[in-house]
Amino acid sequence: MAVLTIFQRTGKRALDFIHELGLIFIFFLKGAFYSFIPPFQFRKILQQIYFIGVKSIFVISLVGIFTGMVLGLQGYYSLVKFGSEGVLGGVVALSLIRELGPVLTAIMIIGRAGSSMAAEIGIMRITEQIDALETMNVNSIRYLFSPRMIASLICFPFLTALFDVIGIIGGYVSGVILLGINSGTYISRMENLVDLSDVTGGFYKAIFFGLLVVTICCYQGYYVHKRGKVFGARGVSFATTSAVVLSCVCVLVGDYVLTSFLL
């Protein structure tokens, strides 16, 4: 019966989704476990810090400054209606530190490094390079995923902090320099309104997003051969797309969940 088929399909999709979630979690646990087993892969971790972190500095700075400037601009014209433009500094800083910093940083890194991870590992999978590692008794998850996980844990908070600082500077540029708010007011309001808990909350989000993004992107590349009916280059392309989309969605959903816990 058609009705039963709909139920069957829905049920199957739900079960497949939960199964995949489980696999991703197991993948994450394996990566985390191997990260703490010596010998430690310092060289590879440094390479990944350079790739994920250092090479993202420019794009994070660029996005940060313009985000701050837009926040300053929009914030001023909203607050001036209530005569509260003086709190602009606090508003810009809080918005960035609590939400926009961690989320936009994560999304930019997804676009730059996350897609690259998925593609690189996916291509290694389809060209049997991962199999070659296994035949050499080299644990492929330890070799490929663990260094990226450690590097993400280090880079995400730093890049988020960079985004926040540059964003605040951007807000200063638009609010103080362009729109004429008093600079002392801008900075003092920022000092008054921003708590340590806001900063630590943003820090926790950055770490959480870092682990989420690296796990999803590496998982998609690592298991590209199990996608089913899509193989070869097209499989890698699908894996990369899935990595980016899934990571972005999970970051936004995770942001809501974390925010509800932190507030």
């Binding site: 060209t127 049997e128 390079q129 070659a132 296994e134 035949t135 050499m136 008794n137 080299v138």
Partner: protein, 411 residues
């Protein structure tokens, strides 16, 4: 031979609905080169992947030194797989790493050797495989043959106990192919590792193998020495051993002797029907091969068969390669008609390049094509009819070196 180092007992493996291996029993002995041959897609590479643990069997047992691999702990399995290396068909080189880094990786990741020791081992293998000077290149900058050698160097750098080679010579030119096979043999003899090859390079691999296993229909249909293989009677085995002859026969359009005899038994022997048997003999075949080359006899028979087919368009005609220098024709034309055809063929043959002495620069060999015919008689076997036809043969065309070639009526 002793206890097998690797043993498959009733191993089966399916991918989806396709059963690739169906109760495979195979033994690999230590210190030997075992080659697995078979048509494409029969499961040779899968067999290798099962040996190294990249795939798990659906049923059956895989034993290493008498112990089942999958009954061991993960640590014990890792110890076993640590003794086995694999060389992939498509090389599976790490394309983001240089040649040096590719070869050094197994040592860097699985040993505690110092950088200097690693460098020495890597350079030793690079020298043996003529890769010196390529250290800083990336795999995409190398030719296919060089990539193969890098993959080989990587497989051998840890001095493993067992090395599995998945078509190590595919894509290589004949010179490099021989070099790779010879390298495998010499390294195997020097270091004493057990080698398992999957290869299509027949019969070249027979010269380096101690044991051959033939897979067909998901099962091992033969397992033994190369000499035992030559004596083994099976159509698939026969086709592999004589693959070059099979190719020549297919191109020329003749059946193998075995197929021709089967046709004769099933369609001609004891049945009503008028058949004429013609035997074409290429005199001095061995001398042509020795002095001129292998291709000239192939062209001669190819032309001959083409001419006969042209003359026998409206009649059933079957060709068979009776031996290296003889082709047998079965036709429903009468002996008189065939005799006329043979005369025409003789005239046409004289015009061909291979009967022109000037076509041979300094290796002219005198030879002739003879033909004899006999009408099929019941109660006579094929070989008797062939002998009778040969006894009545006449020269269709002859090449004289230093003189003009001419046809003669009788030998």
């Amino acid at each position: 031979m002793g206890i097998p180092l690797i043993e498959f007992r009733d191993v089966s493996k399916s991918f989806g609905e396709k059963k690739v291996l169906d109760g495979v029993n195979l033994k690999v002995y230590p210190g030997e080169v075992t080659t697995i041959i078979g048509k494409s897609g029969v499961g040779k590479s899968v067999t290798l992947k099962l040996m190294i643990g990249l795939e798990r069997p659906d049923s059956g047992e895989i034993l290493y030194n008498g112990r089942s691999i999958f009954g061991l702990s993960k640590r014990q399995r890792r110890e076993i797989t640590g003794e086995i290396n694999f060389m992939f068909q498509n090389n599976a080189l790490f394309d983001s790493l240089t040649v040096y880094e590719n070869i050094a990786l197994p040592l860097q990741e699985t040993t505690r050797l110092s950088s200097r020791e690693i460098r020495d081992r890597v350079m030793e293998k690079m020298e043996a495989l003529e890769l010196v000077g390529q250290e800083d290149k990336y795999p995409s900058q190398l030719s296919g043959g060089m990539q193969k050698r890098v993959a080989l160097a990587r497989a051998l750098v840890t001095n493993p106990r067992v090395v599995l080679f998945d078509e190590p010579t595919t894509g290589l030119d004949p010179v490099r192919r021989n070099s790779v096979l010879s390298m495998i043999t010499h390294n195997q003899q020097n270091f004493g590792f057990t080698a398992v090859l999957v290869s299509h390079d027949v019969p070249h691999v027979f010269y380096i193998s101690n044991r051959i296993a033939v897979i067909d229909g998901g099962r091992i249909i033969f397992e033994g020495s190369p000499m035992e293989l030559e004596l083994f009677s099976h159509p698939v085995v026969h086709e592999f051993i004589n693959s070059l002859e099979f190719l020549k026969n297919q191109i020329v359009g003749v059946r193998t002797r075995r197929d021709f005899e089967r046709f004769f038994r099933e369609e001609v022997e004891g049945k009503e029907g008028r058949w004429t048997i013609v035997v074409f003999l290429l005199q001095n075949y061995n001398l042509i091969i020795e002095k001129v080359g292998h291709l000239v006899p192939h062209y001669i028979f190819s032309e001959l068969v083409g001419m006969c087919k042209g003359f026998c368009v409206n009649n059933r005609v079957v060709f068979g390669r009776y031996s290296f220098d003889k082709v047998v024709l079965l036709t429903e034309k009468s002996p008189q008609e065939v005799d006329q055809v043979l005369s025409s063929i003789g005239e046409q043959l004289k015009e061909k390049d291979f009967f022109n002495e000037y076509a041979y620069t300094d290796s002219c060999v005198e030879f002739s094509i003879e033909a004899g015919l006999v009408e099929y008689q019941k109660l006579k076997r094929l070989y008797e009819l062939v002998d009778e036809a040969l006894s009545r043969s006449r020269v269709l065309a002859r090449l004289f070196c230093g003189k003009k070639s001419r046809g003669e009526e009788d030998v």
